[in-house]
Amino acid sequence: MIANEAELRALMTAGLNGDAAAHRVLLDRLSRHLRAYYKNKLARIGRSADEAEDLVQDALMAIHTRRHTYDPGELFTPWVHAIARYKLIDHLRHTKASMADGPIEDAADFEAQDDHAGAESALDLDRLLARLPEKMRRAIRHVKIDGLSVAETAARCGMSESAVKVSVHRGLKAMAAAIAQGRTT
């Protein structure tokens, strides 16, 4: 497992409590681990490394939208690893790859780091947003991209604050689903 379990777990716990800075650091660290992991796995079974970044983003989105499934009483790295592995297997299964080609069991590669800042996937944010219903799209644009507070967004869109939160939450989940689907079609 990843050597810095304690550090990542602390970041995760802080993020679960609403600490945005810790959450950012966490996702950034994880993106490096994930990139190394996917590049390594894909290379080992002779697949193009181009797919790696799509998987990295799919996994990050899943980690974020399903972070309430992490039980703080348990180790954090096995949780992340299970998601990373699930997304890889799902990807290979739905792109008709033979699973017999390479072992994807060991987590050792997960320790590797990859400093590929600014890495880009084939996914298009605007297109993903365009698929969302109007209300969700506006809520995500204001709150998650322009960085307006929930209260400001609520005032601007004429919605209640809880409606804004729900829209952001549902919108991100819909985007996560679209990424997971789009990856395999």
Binding site: V80, E120, K144
Partner: protein, 214 residues
């Protein structure tokens, strides 16, 4: 899309997370499914008419205890499986406990009965109704549970998670059917209740990878 942009987006205005939500929602789904199955059984089949007899009441209690035991174990395992990597921390063997108990009781009751009664005890009167009703009534609780898992959970072993969703739904459905069923013998419960619940489990395992993908 740049991964850095995605990270920026995800870490802007982060809301605190409700950690009890998953467990609560799964519990609610099983409870709703139970309510739905009981109502469906009452509306379509009705309660057995001989409930005032103590023997009938005892067997109803026994059927409910067996099915509720199945539901309890299945729900506990499902709550584990709902989290990534949960399959590494579950012992599916636990699910066999209620089945082992009822098979043991059925064996004892056959052993103490004359062999001429065996056929009547095992086949009962309404085995076909039982075989058909339990899987059909299970559809509603299965849908509620699957919907909740899809919405909130992140299972990484979809077949196994589907199997336990099916097991819980089958158990819930058996509770509903028990209100109506007048076949009072332990071997009947073991074979037809147990068998149809296992059928629901197999169906869940087959449907899981398709229904629970995220």
């Amino acid at each position: 899309m740049k991964t850095d942009d995605l990270i920026n987006m995800l870490s802007t205005n982060v809301e605190p997370v409700d950690r009890g939500q998953l467990r609560r929602s799964l519990g609610l789904a099983v409870a709703l499914g139970t309510g739905g199955a009981l109502v469906a059984a009452l509306l379509t089949l009705g309660v057995r008419p001989d409930l005032h007899e103590p023997g009938a009441l005892a067997f109803l209690g026994l059927k409910l205890a067996f099915s509720a035991g199945v539901v309890l174990v299945a729900s506990l395992l499902l709550t584990r499986l709902a989290r990534p990597g949960g399959e590494r921390r579950t012992r599916p063997v636990l699910a066999l406990l209620p089945f082992a108990a009822i098979v043991l009781l059925a064996g004892l009751s056959l052993a103490y009965a004359p062999s001429t009664h065996w056929e009547a005890m095992i086949v009962g009167d309404m085995w076909l109704e039982c075989l058909v009703s339990i899987p059909i009534i299970a559809i509603v609780p299965f849908a509620v549970i699957v919907w909740t898992v899809r919405r909130l959970a992140a299972p990484t072993d979809l077949a196994r998670t589907g199997a336990f969703a099916g097991l819980a739904a089958g158990g819930v459905s058996a509770m509903g059917y028990a209100l109506h069923c007048m076949d009072d013998s332990l071997p009947f419960i073991a074979l037809w209740y147990g068998g149809t619940i296992i059928l629901c489990t197999v169906a869940g395992a087959l449907l899981g990878p398709r229904l629970l993908r995220w």
